[in-house]
């Protein structure tokens, strides 16, 4: 029996989601859970997910939710165990609605036939929000989506779906923040899909911090359409979870549409942290740039799969991709799969990957000035990640991410 459907009866599909749920379930059962033979998942093994027995939790006690403090002024939406519980400080120009009022937009961008976890997400559709920025509105304050889990001893399955639309000429900084309290050994699964549309001349800066409990799992798909001269920029810092995948699929669907997909991961223990990207250049003069940097210690494994696709008519496009990892132990591992599919002439495309270790000469130089070996390592790791953090435009958020990398 499929582990994800064992407790199926406990889940009450809301009326509005029934059709989508049936489609999702059929698609998921059709594709099945990825195996080591599934090309898109060959480096990230999911066997552990199969043996679990998932539950759909009733809402946890809201009072038990810690007050997350963000060191910058922000609008905020709080989720607890996957459920939307609170909205605060919403500025003009930003509309938040329950998903039930936006179901026509669901599965328009995410392709559930080819993404098994998006199909699963669709099967259990209920939670999430619809976010819309009005045309030509530049939202000054970041909008934080704070997802908190109080798993207790249960293997919660949290399916979250957000639909995010930036209308023509609008701009938003969106921050997704994941945290938990309580039982650290819980094997809950956050399975999220964001469907994002960036319309003409609009810009979304999308930030994410993933710091789930160390046995938890986290799978996220960001499906993004970018229209003419629109810009989608993202930065994801991953530190937590046992198995985590942050997957970004961008379609550049208009002239001069732009994408920047960046990430950093810092990991130890037994974790597998997967960053998967797929950028489709469908129009001329579109550009994309990716910089992903990892620091891997212990027995951990970093995975990067990055695809750049350039369609036959997409001339004068530019796509660059670079993945670099620092290995801190002999048992740390990275697996990298870059893919370029270029069907047009007159394009500039490049990809690169490198891995290395901390430099003994540099460590000794620092130690010979009185800096402890531990501090020297920290400074070199910071230095290693410096360039990817430097690409975070918003200064407050840049400082905040540097702090999260260090202190959380």
């Amino acid at each position: 029996m499929n582990p994800f459907f064992k407790n199926n009866d406990d889940f009450q599909t809301p009326q509005w989601a029934k059709g989508l749920s049936q489609e999702g379930k059929a698609a998921f059962l059709g594709i099945g859970l990825p195996t080591p033979k599934t090309e898109a998942w060959k480096y990230t093994k999911l066997r552990e997910l199969e043996t679990d027995d998932y539950e759909f939790a009733p809402l946890a006690d809201k009072g038990a939710m810690p007050k997350e403090e963000f060191p910058f002024a922000c609008a905020k939406i709080d989720f607890l165990n996957g459920q939307w519980v609170k909205t605060s400080n919403l500025p003009q120009g930003l509309t938040i609605k329950p998903l039930s009022e936006a179901f026509a937009q669901i599965n328009q961008i995410a392709d559930i036939q080819n993404y098994p976890f998006a199909a699963l997400n669709s099967a259990y559709l209920e939670q999430g929000v619809f976010i819309e920025v009005a045309a030509n509105r530049q939202i000054e304050m970041p909008l934080v989506l704070s997802y908190h889990t109080i798993p207790e001893n249960r293997n919660l399955l949290e399916n979250i779906r957000n639909v995010i639309i930036l209308n023509t000429g609008s701009q938003l900084d969106l921050v997704e923040y994941y945290s938990y309290t309580g039982e650290v050994k819980s094997r809950y699964l956050v399975n999220q899909v964001n469907e994002i549309t960036v319309k003409e001349n609009a810009q979304l800066n999308h930030y994410k911090f993933q710091n789930e409990a160390y046995k938890a799992n986290h799978i996220a798909l960001h499906a993004v359409d970018v229209e003419t001269a629109g810009t989608y920029k993202s930065f994801c810092l991953q530190k937590g979870a046992n198995i985590a995948r942050n997957e970004t699929k961008v379609k550049l669907k208009g002239l001069q549409a732009k994408a920047q997909v960046d990430g950093a991961y810092v990991m130890n223990g037994w974790a597998t942290l997967d960053t998967t990207t797929d950028i489709e250049h469908l129009f001329p003069q579109t550009t994309s740039s990716q910089l992903i940097k990892g620091v891997v210690g212990g027995d951990a494994k970093g995975v990067f799969q990055g695809k750049i696709h350039i369609a036959p008519n997409a001339v004068q496009t530019e796509g660059t991709q670079l993945h670099k990892a620092l290995l801190l132990s002999d048992t740390a591992e990275i697996d990298v799969k870059p893919e370029l599919e270029i069907f047009a002439d007159d394009v500039k495309c490049s990809h690169g990957a490198a891995s290395g270790e901390l430099d003994e000469e540099q460590l000794f130089y620092m130690q010979s000035r009185g800096i402890s070996r531990e501090d020297a390592k920290k400074m070199l790791i910071d230095a290693y990640l410096e360039d990817v953090f430097a690409r975070i435009e918003n200064e407050n958020l840049r400082a905040w991410f540097k702090d999260l990398k260090q202190n959380s």
Binding site: Q362, F364, G370, M379, D382, A383, Y384
Partner: protein, 252 residues
Amino acid sequence: MTTPLLEIEELHARVGDKEIIKNFNLTINEGEIHAIMGPNGAGKSTLSYVLTGKPGYEVTSGSVRFKGKDLLSLSPEERAREGVFLIMQYPVEIPGVPTSAFLKQALNAQRKHLNLPELDNVSFIKLLREEGKKLGIDSDMLKRFVNVGFSGGEKKRLETLQMAILKPSFAILDEADSGLDIDALKVVADGVNSLRDEHRSMLVITHYQRLLNYIVPDFVHVFADGHIVKSGNKDLALELEEKGYAEFVKER
């Protein structure tokens, strides 16, 4: 009254399988400047790394005492905090680490060790500006990453600045003049000389006599085949300049 600061006795050390330091003996008293001169490949840099504890440089026998303590049992950072400093022949570039942050970390590590309060940003920047000015190091240079894109002269000036800030009781200068023109050499030598006092000692390693015109030593030693083969005063340096090292280098 002389107080020994550094006492090296019957030191043997190797790099990999190769014994480089062979029965090396030297005592340096407080306030003294000793020069070590020797041909390329004699093991001068190796000696400086053995004294500062670089991994891969293995002491096989002998002892080194510093202020009476067993220096060899300390980690590189502990040696530094106790007051040992090395101006490296080839200072290391550290991309991504700003020079001023690096210096602050180093100074505060030392102050913590000495039970002094850490310096805050304001007092640190003030100190850095003052000391930097003397060596012609401006704040732009301090914002750059450690040694990255620095000219040979800038690297050596930065080494000297670190010495001025950390105020070690014992400094080793390994070919501090290599790659420097005469003006840059004077700046570095002035910096070093201004730190001379009756307690601070130095070991000046050089292949050429030139540097010793500017940093005048109390003693000069000839280093060949892993140990000191001849000692004298500063005139020995002039003699070596004239005759070369031929008489000290074994026939191959």
